[in-house]
Symmetry: C3
Subunit: 267 residues, 3 copies
């Protein structure tokens, strides 16, 4: 039997000592991801150039790598940062945005996977395609339900010795052995760009707070998004008003509310 993750305690721990997280993310996500991190209580830094990415990773609590708007120069910075994080024993999170779409992306993700991410977070189409499955992804949007990706997630986690999170209407998290589902959120969330990318950064923040327990860290980050998303969605009139309400809720969400409202179940 699996223990429940102590979500509230993790949230308080993260905020009590705001982790510096190096976020190498895409141009679309940069601003909203930084705002999500600050609202939630973390300390993001967008540092990507090969000339400094490795040096910065060594002083960060965690690293997140997102290939959304990839180019060769950025890939070089990602690889330098990951090698440094690995050398320093810092957790790092891979977000393989639309990696199935082009040869350039597939090759980049293969290189990154060889460097053993601590956690992989993607949508169902991305996770299915990472195990060679036939995904229905179109561009950057998932066209597959999360439950179709559960087997792929377990395989991927076992193969690479990492935690895998598939996010969507109901999220699925596994380390290859145990697994949990996180319910909540809002149907508006896929209508706002880069929320998944922002969640990847927040996973990094919790991983920095609990480096010895990436499974719990991932569940906690997903639960924060699920509860805040549900509350923001209930008050929003559309994707525009969702976005700012989501940041307001993230900033005021407390440990007690998180623990009470989160719907995390063993899978």
């Amino acid at each position: 039997m699996q223990d429940q993750v102590n979500l509230g305690a993790l949230l308080d721990a993260m905020r009590g000592n705001p982790p510096l997280v190096q976020c190498i993310t895409n141009f679309v996500a940069m601003n909203i991801a930084a705002n999500v991190m600050l609202a939630a209580g973390a300390s993001p830094a967008m540092v990507h150039a090969e000339e400094e990415a490795g040096e910065f990773a060594a002083i960060s609590g965690a690293l997140t790598v997102n290939i959304g708007t990839l180019s060769p120069g950025w890939l070089a910075g990602m690889l330098a940062a990951v090698r440094s994080a690995n050398h320093a024993g810092k957790p790092w999170v891979l977000d393989p945005v639309a990696h199935y779409a082009t040869a350039f992306r597939r090759k980049a993700v293969a290189q990154l996977l060889e460097l053993r991410p601590t956690i992989i977070r993607g949508n169902a189409s991305e996770i299915i395609a990472l195990t060679g499955g036939n995904s229905g992804g179109q561009g950057v949007d998932s066209r597959d339900p999360v439950d179709m990706a559960e087997d792929s997630a377990r395989q991927l986690a076992s193969r690479h010795g990492c935690v895998v999170a598939v996010t969507g209407a109901t999220d699925f998290v596994t380390d290859g052995h145990k697994a949990q589902r996180v319910e909540g959120g809002s149907p508006l969330m896929p209508r706002i760009t880069a929320l998944g990318c922002s969640l990847t950064c927040l996973v990094g923040a919790f991983a920095a707070t609990a480096p010895g327990n990436p499974f719990d860290a991932t569940v906690a980050a997903l639960a924060v998004f699920a509860v805040a998303g549900e509350q923001a969605g209930a008050a929003a009139d559309g994707p525009g008003s969702f976005s700012w309400r989501f940041l307001d809720v993230l900033a005021t969400l407390d440990a007690e509310t998180l623990t009470a409202k989160a719907r995390v179940v063993v899978a």
Copy 2:
């Protein structure tokens, strides 16, 4: 006599089969453009690197190219994407942001124009300058009224065999033969950055939906912006509240309202 564009039918058609649109746009516009596309019902993908831009253009329904924050690497990606779109018979839209400002920009736009855009969307200063006229543009802001650019737009459309849209207080669209004006919007719109760039992406979405009719596609995208902008502007207290209200309105705007509220007239 020109037929009226069936705006509502085009909106429903676009949403019924959300087109994947490759948007190569500037760093300022990335996030708001993606959010505008998602709110309106399209599927944007920001893919720019020369290593994959061509491959991605071939699987996209349309391509949009915006030179707002141009650099040589991005120009190479744009050219690769455009050549691929042309080869695959996909429509592409050019947004020649402040092309008159520097020699680098002028040369880049000349290269792009040679590749025969399906549609060009710009402000009055940009369109006037594209035909060699004396524009009053300062930086990226138009200083010329749209009606001063109508002759330039007709010339440009005839010369390049494309549709030209001049956007401003009242928009003007022409294919060199017929022309229509689209009224609406809000005086707040020029106070929010990158709305024009976002509109270029939405033009791409409609062009993907109606590849055989870029004139109607352009009018439809402009009408969506004009109606949504007018509604958002009526409720907004300033540029900040306009932005999120605009996304909310875009997401809820239906075909019936669009058809009823749009003010499109033959020019």
Copy 3:
């Protein structure tokens, strides 16, 4: 005895002839900085490539340079723009984001400082570190109070013959001789990313309006932020609602309100 800066007159002068400001800033700040500039009444242009940055600086009223997401290509563009601004006698503002974090950043800032910025704006940790002091900065976030940076600011201003602004809960501005403090703002402001970067751009706008008086220009920009931030903060429920309210307030703030509400004191 120092004269009080005529804040309202400077705001009206800036809006009466909106200055074109070339903003070379980071990917996180691009959108919000442009929106802040447009809301306040300035005309921003994000032009960074080495191929055109110098040419554009010569036609701009002022230049701002921010190293938040630095890379070698961007540094080359910054240096080209700065040399051109200097040659044309245009003021330029340096924002040395987290320059203490890596060797790459330290070297870049040393190069930029040699080119004699008109104004430097940073947080306390950044300004302390620029004079070789022991700063507590973590990543891009200041961990030092502004008053700990006042001596550093005076030294820095004297050494480089420039104006130095340290921004935080209470801002401090000095040219090495005189100094003023600007009170106001909101505790929410550090919870929103890139507001400091946006302020740097607005300092550039006022510097373009009053090129002969960078001290007054800096105080005016800081006062605008302090008053608008205080008003937006009073109405906001969190960082999300602060952001759009801040833009609304910036757009409607008039000279009379600015003069009445600003709390600027001689230091």
